[in-house]
Symmetry: C2
Subunit: 604 residues, 2 copies
């Protein structure tokens, strides 16, 4: 297995040179979020991720979780790591100081979370789900519920889960059946939930389940779903833990990947719980608004899963690179006395460049969205808040959908770099593919992201926000033209970016124009459109990276020339090999629906 | 898990309508290879594959193989299935009648093997390796060796293995260290081999290892490698089994996929074998010509692995299709009263069309190569033999490299169709991805196939054979223009094919022109060039399928209209969504080397 080394230099480049950190530091309340503080936080987190989390990644995969009579054991070392995680204050990093959080902005939490996910994606899912539950309670909880649950959840001594899916209701939550009946100040919950990440575990003393369910008189469909808090152990008035609630983990799944993350079947009601018939739950917010609340929280969750795509890709890249440097096999095609490290073979370089360039594009995209999330929340000027908020809304399905689909490709390429050794589990490369595969499915499949992108994010405003982004991309093109008139790298990047932006722009127009007249065609092209959107916005960020590197190299007394030269070459690779797909995708999107929809069901 | 149903109708379409079977039936010695015989063989094999092999696919994956003290147990049911396999005469199908084979041509053996591989890829590897060993002995063995080994190996009561790889020698066999010292009429073999498929098992009474090794005075590098027969049990003069040879399975690997196929570490010499110090081996052919023999046999092995890509894709498609028909989730985007089967969702259709169209393209390509292999071997006219032989040589790396890379994509798409259920191992969709992943690695990685394609198959003859194929493609274009002047489907296919052929032609010219002047650049683009080659030759076959279907539909009293209409729509999908990538690939191939090779090793 490869070790993990946090890519601090690359992270700092994005934070400092692509404009992530600067604008956030000048936001109200962020004066202490200085480059120095961030560097310190990232270095400390790097040590924790490298030394504590990363060594448990492979062993956790091999051992997996075990279920016995409703109890779940996480793999060896996970409890101790989680204790250190809580003791180090990591769980509290991004939450409001009011409830014990550290209140750091998303632009700082994002590289921190990237490291956890790279080091040990399965482990990182526990705090990720807790964060989702914390957000939901912050958003919708009464003061009493906040006081009762948030301090421990933010500290990390209690975890949180999100209970949405049921066997018949996955992407389609309208089909939910779990029911909640009012009983005094609380509700009694009955139903079965599946695919509940960390639904049961042995890391924390209590687990706070957030559960979607229907009240008896609720309207049908998605407008009749409410959100409830269901603690595993009841919480007494003094904050101590009381009786066991009537909720139980019936089994855990045997999955392709993330073996160390228990995926539970949860049964609410009808168990041997001490509190009697039905799990006791407390309504969050108002009845029938549960899905609405979920939508508000969705951005954070989808962003986090997109970040998993980046993080697994980074890990897979590091592992492949280490092997390519060390494995000696075959002569240099340009001539060598004997066998050479395979990194010298052109196709191995192509694979590594493909991994590296897409990792860097995903990171630039994600951190940019993180910064805009902070600006949208904190900026003094409402126009700026709205502008960045709209950018975040547009980008979330792209970050989620494109980064996760790309992660599958990158992890698979990582196996290929290893040759036969990559197929052997002990190598560790295969685990990255197995782990990455879920990211394009949970928190909304790629098709769900693509639906969101074409419908709510493009068609609803006629492509106005996207056109604003296109204007920014055209400005980057102009900068490239100015900076690189005589520079072959920048010229190549500019050419590919211009073609990519044109392809995206024509598809944005097409989606906006056709959404009402031929919605089936727009849906048929939606996932390719999402891919095109990722490629072009990622290519734009890579172009910005090349410009930033070019400025560094042109500065008097420039240092770190090899690093900045690499940024430019990597951006050029992305332009020539990834952005190059834009034209073909645009054709397929705008002209390909007839053949997608041409067969009757029984002709398949 | 999904059941497997042999796609006999699709197979027959390729055999009968794309010109696979007809030309072979008219070859010398093939008069009895009639459409009726083939239909009968395929139907019988379909029953065996569906009823005996397919049900063991998932259970074999879960149970895997077990190693204990040098012995390997295959999963439950494999022994009985193998007995039936041998009893049914399946192992003997494609081998010469002289040694007990049935002598059927490759065009018949190919769909038969496709079914085994779809039904149970892990199982099918045992006869596949035996076939490789049989070919080697047929090619190089003395009469005595042939008589001693072939009848049982062809029957299947003994299996065969191929021992090439060593820890330090994978793609680069020049680094082989296993040594063979002459001792009377035989040699003593010492060394360690890894990644030996079915190197040890409990299915057959003897295992015949073919082993690459160096004699003491052999030249260095690839010109000093010899090929040996090393039986697990010595064979007495009367054909009975004698003492245990000094060869032992030291362990088996824990792999991402094909769990039911044991991948062995084999140790030759220095064990407790009864025959003493060093495994007894018999030279095949002449000393130092081992790698040359391997090269001759390589086509069959690489073709077979390409066929695995097709076969796994077919299985993954069937499973995804069944789920898409049955799973009810979400409303029809064009409007529906309630939730509908997900096959009605445009993106699910897109995924299914992507799988279906690529499966059909792979099949048409593979069967075409199988027919040409027969013609190259048996045709009365030497010019025809050479023409088809050259076509086979060109196509083998494409069938191997493109079909296996595509299989990974198709199997991953199959998971995506299932949503969260696809990530659960019990569903069976994930196994296809895990199994498919090896196909792009063993029998030469995709990069090795691409090297072969650009070097031996394109550059060596200046692209002459490829240009001959391009002329055939242009003829197909002309046919499309004639048949489909007023047909939107055929027009769309013609447009995409024309652009694809142009893209391929410019890259063929570029490879031929640059190979000597800038070999590094050609190697940097080699894998994308292989992908382009697969897309364009696959698209050509799909265009031929559309023309054949068009002819059927235009015939008086045409039946099966839905089937033939589907062929046309599927070809159009391939044209609009897969062939559409050709232009971008051509750009990347011809202009993308600078950025691939732009970093120093320490800049990664």
């Amino acid at each position: 297995m490869g070790e993990y080394r946090a890519p601090l230099r690359d992270m700092q480049f994005v934070l400092n040179d692509l404009g992530g950190l600067g604008p956030v530091s000048s936001l109200p309340g962020c004066a202490d979020v200085t480059a120095e503080l961030v560097e310190q936080v990232l270095e400390e987190n790097a040590r924790f991720s490298e030394k504590v989390l990363a060594p448990l990644n492979y062993s956790g995969d091999v051992e997996g979780c075990a279920w016995h009579d409703g109890q779940v054991s996480t793999p060896k070392g996970f409890r101790q790591a989680y204790e250190q995680f809580v003791a180090g204050g990591w769980n509290a990093l991004q939450f409001p100081t009011e409830y014990g959080g550290q209140g750091l902005p998303k632009i700082v939490a994002t590289p921190v979370m990237e490291m956890w996910k790279s080091a040990n994606m399965a482990f990182s899912l526990c705090p990720l789900l807790t964060a989702g539950a914390v957000e939901a309670i912050l958003l919708t909880g009464s003061d009493a519920l906040k006081q009762a649950y948030l301090p421990e959840m933010i500290e990390g001594s209690w975890s949180g889960t999100m209970n949405l899916t049921e066997p018949q209701a996955g992407s389609d939550l309208a089909l939910l059946r779990t029911r909640a009946e009012r009983e005094g100040d609380h509700y009694r919950i009955h139903g079965q939930k599946i695919f509940i990440t960390y639904g049961e575990q042995d890391l924390t003393e209590n687990i706070i389940h957030l559960v979607l369910a229907r009240t008896p008189d609720a309207p049908e469909g998605i407008k009749g779903i409410s959100l409830f808090i269901v603690p595993k152990f009841m919480v007494n008035a003094d904050g101590s833990l009381g009786k066991r609630n009537d909720v139980r983990c019936a089994s855990i799944e045997h999955k392709l990947g993330i073996h160390a993350s228990p995926t539970a079947v949860m049964v609410y009601g009808g168990n041997e719980g001490e509190v009697g018939e039905g799990a006791i739950g407390y309504l969050l917010g108002e009845e029938n608004r549960g899905l609405e609340y979920m939508f508000i929280m969705m951005n954070a969750a989808r962003f986090a899963v997109g970040l998993e795509g980046l993080a697994i890709s980074e890990r897979a890249y590091q592992q492949a690179l280490a092997y390519a440097r060390e494995r000696v096999q075959g002569r240099d095609v340009a001539g060598s006395a004997g066998a050479v490290p395979i990194i010298r073979h052109p196709d191995v370089r192509r694979m590594l460049m493909s991994m590296k360039s897409q990792v860097e594009a995903m990171r630039a995209l994600a951190y940019g969205v993180a910064a805009s999330t902070d600006i949208a929340r904190l900026h003094a000027d409402g126009t700026e808040r709205r502008r960045h908020g709209a950018f975040v809304e547009l980008m979330i399905p792209i970050v989620k959908g494109w980064s996760t689909e790309t992660a599958i490709e990158v992890a698979s390429t990582g196996i290929q770099v290893h040759g036969g050794t990559g197929f052997i589990e002990e190598t560790g490369a295969a685990q990255h593919l197995r782990d990455a595969r879920i990211t394009a499915i949970y928190e909304g499949t790629t098709a769900i992201q693509a639906n969101d992108l074409i419908g709510r994010k493009i068609a609803r405003d006629g492509g106005a926000v996207a056109k604003g982004v296109i204007a920014l991309m055209r400005a980057t093109e102009a900068e490239l033209a100015q900076a690189g008139a005589s520079d072959a790298d920048l010229a190549a990047i500019k050419g590919a970016l211009a073609a990519g932006v044109t392809a995206w722009a024509e598809c944005v127009d097409w989606v906006a124009a056709q959404y009402r007249s031929d919605i089936v065609a727009v849906h048929a092209g939606s996932v390719p459109f999402l891919k095109l959107s990722g490629i072009v916005t990622g290519g734009w960020q890579m172009a910005r990276a090349a410009l930033a590197a070019h400025r560094h190299l042109a500065a008097p007394g420039a240092s770190d020339a090899a690093f900045y030269r690499a940024k430019i070459v990597t951006a050029r690779y992305f332009a020539e090999h990834v952005l190059a797909q834009a034209g073909g995708l645009s054709q397929s999107i705008r002209h390909g629906a007839t053949s997608i929809m041409g067969l009757d069901n029984d002709q398949f």
